[in-house]
Amino acid sequence: MDTTLLIAAAIKIAVFIGITMSFVSICVIFERRFSAIIQDRVGPNRTMIPLSILGFKKDLALPIGGLTQPVADGLKFILKEDFTPSYVRKLFFWLAPVLVVVPALLTMAVIPFGSPMEIAGNVIPMAVADLNVGPLYIFAIASLSVYGITLAGWASNSKYPFFGGVRACAQMISYEIALGLSIVPVLMFFGGLNLGHIVEDQVTNGWLLLPLWNEGGFIISSGYWADPQASIQRLLLLIPIFVSFIIFTTSIFAETNRMPFDLPECETELVGGYHTEYSSMKFALFFMGEYAAMVVGSALIVTLFLGGWSIGFGIDNLLPVGAWWVSLLHIGVFLGKVTFFILFFILVRWTVPRFRYDQLMNLGWIVFFEAALINVFLAALVIAYPSIGIMGLAIGFALLITATILLIKIAKSSLEKPSATAV
């Protein structure tokens, strides 16, 4: 292997882990400030650089609106007493936080942060590992974090963490099915699993959720309609893709244990859920794992549905290919989109109240699972339209609608409570 590629890979690993970790802390400050603003408060806005503990006379107060708060938070976690209760199962108690944070950081490896950069004749993709099975890799690794949370609940050897762990286990495994099924239409449309290629496809053909331009030009110009059948098909495809987007985004919320689905750690019922017995840096690892999962989730949504690093609207094609500043610009655009999604996560947190546990399970198993399944066939019909013709489409739709009605009937009957006499 070329030494340039090796060095580039090492730099990429360092930089992207750095970006993820700093995004975790940015998440924390955003969460605190944005939550505060929603609740008519100010939030942490005056954290200083504590020069006085180094022997200087005064603390340095910079006008950066409390951006150093995450540093203070992190220092606090490191300096706190790390208390391990005597009754826990030590090995798993120590293993669990690691199992939460490592998968979340590993999944970052396949996300393309920016457009490929050309250095000394080598085209270097801006992802640590440019795998051909990107989303599958992410699902495979991310599902490992279930072990972390479940082990934390079990190893704590105490009631509330155990409940939290069991809940997390059931919830995350349930929503993984909807998560996986919901992006099948997306992958069918792109015909591949390489996230880098998926983004490049979106650069030329419009973002998946925003197909306002293609090779021919914008939607209003005649170039867009050069092949009217394909264009109409692409616009029709928006329906299944929008359903995919909704299911995928909601499932990401459930996977990361974020607010409407934060039953594993709901403090009103379970004290702190699975991390009740944890303190100091071990607790911070859970915290980081949750936020890192949120960052990766947002990055995946952006990559699949909102064009990843592309600026969009045909601007990318005007920029020189492979120049270093273009790559950096694209990284900036990507991070901007991820930030937008993180703000969206926080907004949802303060808008949608927490679900009841059976509602959560019903939503996962009865609504999303079926909807994702039907959605796959709907997308398949639209994609297959040119080859099966109008008759095939009609028959397919008729079959699909029958199947849908049947499924809804079955789902409804499964929701009915059994009557007392029937038992």
């Binding site: 609740q39 408060r41 100010v42 303060w350 808008t351």
Partner: protein
């Protein structure tokens, strides 16, 4: 009593799908966030908001003009119009003080002094502000109207000795009280 059976409301399809309501909720939350950011939250004006939400930025902004007349802050000693110490170190406040915050070392006024007939004055008068509970009993019990609870509430220090107000500090806070001050009337 009539029994009222409450039925669950029938939800329309749009309500069942939940999506529209969630979206509407997000718009409301975001709108509220923007109003909060612009300092237009309800009540921001009368709560002296700093510009974000209804929060007042404390050390820079204060509510001193809204303190009520009967506010009980730091206890302090006062002098009369001729700069005489009113305190005669009878130690009643020391005895009444529920948390035992006051410590008085009585001293005698020398016989060649102009006010020798008062006989006693405090040699030292310490109030431990960590212990003080601002109950105002010292003010109430004082026969000489020498100790008052002032509206000062910013009492800070970096160690315990700094939090003990000595005689000098107490007179500094208390200042001068002119005329015969009846402790029961409204004017403090």
């Amino acid at each position: 009593m009539a029994i009222i059976k409450v039925e669950r409301p029938k939800l329309s399809f749009g309500e069942k799908i939940y999506f529209g309501a969630a979206l509407k909720g997000m718009v409301i939350t975001l709108g509220h966030a923007f109003r909060s950011l612009l300092g237009k939250t309800t009540g921001a004006e009368e709560l002296n908001s700093s510009g974000v939400g209804v929060t007042m930025q404390y050390p820079e902004q204060k509510w001193d003009d809204k303190l009520p007349e009967y506010y009980r802050g730091a206890p302090a000693l006062v002098t009369d119009e001729r700069d005489r110490e009113r305190c005669v170190s009878c130690q009643l406040c020391e005895f009444i003080c529920p948390p035992k915050a006051i410590k008085i070392t009585p001293g005698e006024i020398p016989s060649d002094n102009e006010w020798a007939k008062v006989e006693k004055r405090p040699l030292e008068f310490d109030i431990d502000m960590i212990r003080c509970i601002y109950c105002g009993m010292c003010e109430e019990v004082c026969p000489e109207q020498a100790i008052y609870l002032r509206p000062d509430y910013v009492i800070t220090g970096t160690n315990r000795t700094e939090m003990v107000h000595d005689k000098e500090r107490l007179y500094e806070i208390g200042g001068k009280r002119v005329g015969l001050v009846n402790k029961w009337n409204d004017l403090k």
